[in-house]
């Protein structure tokens, strides 16, 4: 009797699992948009448990890996926080004013050129993927299919590097916080959608903390004496995990807005 009940239970469980797989997999065309990813803690109903503890790597560090998006657009237009005025060098203030007055008409992305850091992470709905490995953390930004490599093998930032759009990054753990130092930027990107400029003297410090399985926070310190008389800090940016999905290719192949950007 007991064995019959056991078999029935097993059958029931396997049917439930099959049903869950079917529901989660969806139609064939949506298999990468919604699929159950391994390593995801789950609630009894099969949904991801976003408040489960942050995962750890085998060596005991928090693991930031996952697909993330900004939790709201509160800091998109002003990285420092709504209404906060960041003191700027006169030339930078003039550039910023023009960018504000022309409603972002000339931002690099319009010409399919890269967004800045952290601008690339500030728009809800535009995810980025973190892949944490023992010697580097890879950032894949969905928009424009661009990436960053944050080396954690102990190397120092290069001296006099060839300037690049995303600069050179090294990272290390301070307790549960992943601290990323980046320098060697080419000038030209905007730090946020509002248009904070920077020069090749920019040195960024990003501090990432994964609060639990489903949430992560970032604070950014901006040091660029050619553009800003004093280093300044971003507001704390919140990210939420996009579970059970994948990034989608995003190449800027059909830009048609440029001729129509009035800007006022």
């Amino acid at each position: 009797m007991a064995s019959v009940t056991g078999a029935a239970k097993r059958r029931q469980a396997s049917m439930a699992a099959a049903a869950m797989l079917f529901v989660m997999a969806g139609p064939a065309s949506a298999q990468w948009l919604k699929l159950p990813l391994p390593g995801t803690p789950r609630l009894p109903d099969g949904k991801p448990n976003l408040t489960a503890p942050a995962p750890k790597t085998p060596d005991g560090q928090p693991d930031l890996s996952g697909i993330w998006q900004a939790d709201g657009n509160r800091y998109l237009e002003n990285l420092a926080g709504p209404g906060v005025q960041v003191p700027m060098q006169p030339w930078a203030a003039a550039v910023y004013k023009e960018r504000q007055e022309t409603l972002g008409r000339d931002k690099p992305q319009i010409h399919c050129m890269p967004h800045g850091v952290p601008d690339a992470m500030l728009v809800p709905g535009i995810p980025f993927k973190l892949i944490q490995t023992p010697n580097e953390l890879v950032v894949l930004y969905e928009e424009f299919n661009v990436y960053r490599q944050i080396f954690t093998d102990g190397r120092a930032l290069p001296n006099d590097p060839n300037p690049t759009w995303y600069g050179y990054s090294v990272g290390k753990w301070e307790g549960d916080t992943f601290v990323v130092e980046t320098a060697g930027f080419k000038d030209g990107t905007w730090l946020d959608n509002g248009g904070y400029p920077h020069t090749d003297a920019l040195h960024l410090t990003e501090r990432f903390r994964r609060r639990n399985f489903g949430t992560m926070q970032l604070d950014v310190a901006i040091d660029d004496s050619k553009a800003y008389p004093k280093p300044w800090k971003s507001a704390t940016i919140n990210f939420k995990l996009m579970p059970d999905t994948e990034l989608i290719e995003h190449l800027c192949e059909n830009e048609k807005d440029v001729p129509h950007l009035v800007g006022k």
């Binding site: 998109l76 008409r105 959608n193 989608i248 830009e255 129509h260 009035v262």
Partner: protein, 136 residues
């Protein structure tokens, strides 16, 4: 003092009304949220491409003249995450669009929602209409 308050409240209204900007391009640099437009027509072409999806409708005016209009939405990536597929809309479909007019007077519209006549399905534009979550 009272006047100052009225001015600053009006200023706030404009600020809120302007809504979030797209990150690929600023919504307000190209479209006017205060000029809503609603058009019905027949799909002539769909460009399921990044950074923005575009589709085109032949729209007949009251005099019977047909004009081809362009409609901009968010990225296909954003649209797929909101339930669109590349086959949601096909040439020949009749579609009603609610959106915002262009600022330069061109026959382009930023899509807030598109309703398919055949199914009545109302799909959102996944762009950056004021009050919506921007999806670039």
């Amino acid at each position: 003092m009272k006047m100052k308050l009225a001015v600053s409240v009006a200023g706030l209204g404009i600020l809120l009304g302007a809504g979030p900007a797209l990150a690929h391009h600023a919504f307000a640099a190209e479209y006017d949220a205060n000029k809503p437009i609603k058009l019905t027509g027949t799909v002539t072409k769909v460009e399921w491409t990044n950074p923005h999806t575009w589709f085109y409708l032949d729209v007949k005016d009251s005099s019977g003249k047909v004009t081809n209009w362009g409609f901009e939405m968010g990225s296909p990536n954003g649209l797929m995450r909101q339930g669109w597929t590349r086959n949601s809309m096909k040439p020949g479909d009749e579609v009603t669009v609610e959106g915002s007019s262009s600022k330069d007077g061109s026959n382009n519209v930023n899509v807030k929602a598109a309703t398919l006549a055949s199914t009545g399905q109302r799909l959102f534009g996944a762009s950056s209409q004021p009050g919506e979550t921007p999806v670039r």
